[in-house]
């Protein structure tokens, strides 16, 4: 489907969606939202690109390889933040007890490990959204109609 209106609109809207997604991720420890919702919004913008143009245009934005890298990296980062707490003398995933700098409540740079974790969660969720979407589309292209046996 090549629709000029859809393409132009999504081209206009996508940067705003992405900025909004990043905003939600970064303010996860201050306001409603956080890694999951922000990541989902960011991922949706990439899905929108692939929908409005085509799959190859979407893949150009974020390739399979970088998506899976971000996916593993996000989860891994979360787990490693927990391990850092352990090195700094707290229990696993400790925050204040592991002497992460807490800052002043309400400021962007506050909350110790929480914003770091939120960013990793956002990364993970955004890339997972995209990977899921790609897999759905490509699975159909690869396997063909699942109802037909032997396809």
């Amino acid at each position: 489907m090549e629709d000029q209106i859809t393409r132009l609109t999504s081209r206009l809207v996508v940067p705003f969606i992405q900025v909004y997604g990043i905003y939600i991720i970064l303010h996860g420890h201050l306001s409603p939202g956080g890694g999951f919702s922000g990541g989902a919004i960011f991922g949706a913008s990439l899905v929108l690109m692939a929908l409005a143009f085509n799959l190859s245009a979407g893949v150009k934005q974020i390739s399979h390889q970088s998506a899976s890298l971000m996916e593993s990296g996000g989860a891994l980062g979360y787990a490693l933040v927990g391990l850092i707490a352990l090195l700094w003398g707290g229990n696993y995933l400790a925050n204040r007890a592991a002497s992460f700098p807490l800052g002043r409540a309400g400021e962007l740079f506050s909350g110790g490990a929480i914003p770091v974790i939120t960013v990793f969660v956002g990364m993970k969720v955004a890339s997972t959204m995209v990977t899921l979407f790609y897999n759905l589309i490509e699975g159909e292209a690869k396997v063909g109609d699942p109802e037909k046996p032997g396809a």
């Binding site: 787990a79 391990l83 352990l86 229990n91 007890a97």
Partner: protein, 494 residues
Amino acid sequence: MTLQHHFPALIIVIFLICAFIMPLLFRWRSTLCAPALLLVHLLALAMAVALLVRLYAGGPFYYHLGNWAPPWGIELKIDFLRVYMVLILVGLGLWIFVYALKDLAHELKREVTGWYYALYALLIGSMSGMALTNDMFNLFVFMEICGIASCAIISIKESRECLEASFKYLILSAMGTGCYLMAIAMIYMVTGQLNFQLIREALPAAAGLYPNNLLVATALIIVAFGTKAALFPLHVWLPDAHASAPSPSSAVLSGLVIKIYAFSLFNILFFVFPASFRQAVPINEIVLWLATLGILFGSIFAMVQEDLKKMLAYSSIAQIGYVFMGIGLNQPTALLGGFYHILNHALMKGMLFMVAGVIIQATGRRRVKDLNGIGHVLPLVMIAFTVGGFSMIGIPGTGGLISKWYLAEGALLANRLFFVIVIVLSSLLNAVYYLPIIINAFLNPYEGREPVKPVSRLMVGAITAGMIAVIFFGVYPKPVIVFLKAALAAVIGM
């Protein structure tokens, strides 16, 4: 604080980290994947042993994630039974993984092997988490991880039956976790707590005010864990799922995954619900009768199966019944039998699924009828099958006898003669479908022109190790029995 203090969390975390790294590692250094996962298993095993040592020195202890004490934070509890489960999970997980190293090459496409390792690590890690957690909601999270990983580890073969089976499993397992989530909500509504111990303290007061809430929650919990652990009549997903999965997946799903749900149900029944509550509502009685039905019908269904792996899967439904029977009889000796059966059944069913995998790989046969004379071409493997079958029946010298013995003794001590008869009857039923295979395999001539494909020594070695372990735990069960007796005395005495 030393590193040793963090072992409870680290056992779970290293598996998770390993699972996250695996896809990356497979992309760039695919030869390192298997050694890395082996190393993680060994590390976790060492940590579990260290936990055991610490338990002997100082008794049960707790670990607060993020230094948040309950009711705010998640608490891990380390006691003898939980460490027993972790040791089984990690130890047998390692054993099955060694077998999987060679088997996967025949069953999976090469490019998904990295994902398989990731799922395997996720599965073992989440099960260790379920064994250690002392928090209702954390248990739910680990159940979800475990459920999704189990579905994926079945569907990874991408054949038609696998996809169908894992879809069925996905739906029913989601229903199970959904029931559990609602049960948590019901309990949280009236007690305001998620921690096992704190719920236990708050329940007596809440039970007087809101009895219906708690009744519904109890029913939901039984349905949730019954579905997950394939308690009869909620077992419908199991045969397809366990039969169509790759053989190492079948071994780990049948051997370990259904057990951990039974263990979680035990944890909730005995550590969350106060004893008075269990007397007021016949939870144990319900579990006991469902287990009895499972024991009988699982065996009867297994008899009519034509497919070897499907037969083994139905036999799992019967065998998990023994574990639930131990829980249901609510008697220390019977519980001991049930817990010993967790180890025994994990060993023998894991081994039998491995044998099935080897037979399929070597001869391409998976129908029970086609196994005539297979003992002549695969002697060692079929001897292992014989030992496993004997253990299922409960012939002396194998682990199966010991657990059935304690179960029967527990039933007698509880004055429930009927269940002794059930155990004896089910042994006969087991004999009806295991013995013909063994007899036909050794006494009939082998028919078939096609040459038997060679099987990796590592796979046969893993099977042999399993066979030795089954015999060992049947001939010398004392250390485990003494250990379990001490562990259960603390529970029942509460």
